[in-house]
């Protein structure tokens, strides 16, 4: 214990929100000639710094558009921060929008190997774990059916089963515990609890404060891309409740 697995230093990310997205030549040239290429700069995250130690479970709270998902994507390495630095020690498994990245024409089985390779697992490892993945997803009957015939719940189950097959050092969860039916939800929550007992560092975004309180030991409030509070879960969740109440009054 006491080992830092994730260090986020002064991270900021800037988007250029041009009012209409210019993505063709004609438009671009016309605007260039009219000197009309103005960009609205917008900092989705600014001066975000924090550290997490092994086994920490951080709940990220905030309203829609506060920058929660952007922060998770920066940590996952999908977004490169405009400024600042993210240091990760060990493997990161992101569970963002489960199942959205499958190939629709591919069967469930083929997608296990494709998606697994994306997450950085070797073929040999996936072959060893194949039965376990199929069993956890509960989709044995449909595993040779193209994904396009799956329901969104089935896709999410398969995505969850693949992504959680190993125990990563850092696990990123974005609203994924609301996946599938009640039975699967329980199963997935149990799986995540097991991983946490194994010392995985977790970053968790959810709109359900109760869920955050149940899972996390630390919490953070993001407001317009800045950290408003960071600390112990009880402290921060009280603050968050007060914040919401104040907003309702206004």
């Amino acid at each position: 214990m006491g080992k830092e697995t994730l260090i986020v230093e002064n991270v900021g990310i800037k988007f250029n929100l041009s009012e209409e997205k210019v993505d063709d030549f004609k438009e671009y040239i016309i605007r260039l000639l009219k000197r009309n290429l103005k960009y609205n700069e917008f900092w989705a995250l600014k001066d975000v710094s924090f550290k997490l130690e092994k086994g920490d479970r951080l709940g990220i709270l905030g309203l829609n558009g506060a920058g929660k998902s952007t922060l998770l994507k920066v940590i996952a390495g999908v977004f490169k921060p405009t400024e600042g630095k993210v240091t990760r020690k060990g493997t990161v498994v992101p569970l963002l929008e489960l199942g959205a990245g499958f190939d629709k024409q591919y069967t469930g089985k083929e997608n296990i190997f494709l998606y697994g390779a994306m997450l950085g697992y070797s073929k040999k490892y996936l072959e060893e774990k194949y039965d376990e993945i199929v069993k956890f997803s509960g989709l044995k009957k449909f595993i040779n059916v193209p994904i396009k015939n799956y329901s969104s719940g089935m896709r999410a189950k398969l995505g969850f089963a693949i992504a959680t097959i190993s125990e990563p050092e850092i696990l990123i969860l974005d609203e994924v515990l609301s996946v599938g039916d009640g039975k699967f939800r329980k199963k997935s929550e149990k799986k995540i609890m097991e991983m946490m007992e194994g010392g995985t560092t977790v970053l968790f975004v959810s709109h359900s404060l109760q869920q955050v309180q149940r899972i996390c030991n630390k919490a953070m409030i993001l407001d317009q891309g800045r950290i408003k509070a960071f600390g112990d879960i009880d402290e921060v969740s009280t603050m968050y409740e007060n914040m919401l109440e104040n907003m309702e009054k206004e």
Partner: protein, 257 residues
């Protein structure tokens, strides 16, 4: 060095992506991979009838001449087109999991290259038909075939980067490909163009240089040194520019897709 290491680590994913391209291309067709022989063979027959019999190119090995040209050109056209679309087509993946982004255009070129490699086997029956006897010297055709890959890689990297920001490039490229096709002497003999004083169009077209050398090698004639040099200069030049350009812009992709 660091990049080579990640590349090696991610070779499993590259292989998966290449495999996916090949598998999905012929999925749900009855003949499957046999199409990669049948399709060039059938188009060669059509083109031979049209440009050989009707336009009067009656040389004996005209079918072989056409097949070589068409195989290499359709590789260039198919893989640059799919490389151009590769980043957009994989947008949902790119937004979720970090993967070195060059794997997407690279894999789409590689899978087309593999299919073309299989299609090359069609040359065997055609050589027999044209009474060109097999010869070890035919293996020299591998040199222009490798040059073709380098040229395609360079073009593909540039196109995939540009297409992310300007979608029009996809359509513009279709037009450019048509110009490239007509200036690569695929179904006519270059002598006509050379006589008319427009030979520079051919000489500075790397695809023409590659296709001609490939044909010479297949027909047991010697390859042109100057064509080899032109193809290498273009190929290496475009690859360096493409790699650099892609590398510089890749972090901005996610904001545009």
């Amino acid at each position: 060095m660091e990049h080579l290491k990640t590349f090696w680590k991610r070779r499993g994913l590259l292989w998966e992506l290449v495999k996916k391209g090949i598998k999905l291309k012929y999925r749900r067709s009855y003949l499957g991979i046999i199409w990669s022989f049948l399709e060039p063979l059938m188009t060669t027959i059509v083109l031979t009838i049209v440009f050989g019999t009707l336009f009067g190119n009656k040389k004996e090995n005209f079918p072989l001449y056409i097949l070589c040209g068409r195989l290499l050109y359709s590789f260039y056209s198919a893989s640059t087109k799919s490389a151009a679309k590769s980043i957009r087509n994989n947008a949902s993946m790119i937004k979720k999991v970090y993967v070195p982004k060059y794997l997407y255009p690279l894999s789409s070129i590689l899978y087309n290259y593999t299919i073309t490699g299989i299609s090359l086997l069609v040359l065997i029956p055609l050589c027999m038909y044209c009474k060109v006897s097999p010869d070890v010297r035919m293996l020299r055709a591998l040199i222009p075939f490798i040059q073709l890959f380098v040229l395609t890689y360079g073009s593909g990297m540039i196109l995939s980067t540009v297409t992310v920001f300007f979608r029009d490039m996809e359509y513009l490229w279709e037009v450019l490909l048509m110009i490239i096709m007509y200036t690569s002497a695929i179904f006519y003999y270059p002598e006509r163009l050379i006589k008319s004083g427009y030979d520079w169009i051919l000489k500075y077209n790397p695809l023409y240089c590659i296709i001609m050398n490939f044909r010479y090698a297949m027909m047991g004639e010697s390859m042109y040194m100057s064509y080899l040099i032109t193809a290498t200069v273009y190929g290496v030049g475009l690859s360096i520019i493409g790699t650099y350009f892609f590398y510089k812009m890749q972090d901005k992709f996610i904001l545009a897709i």
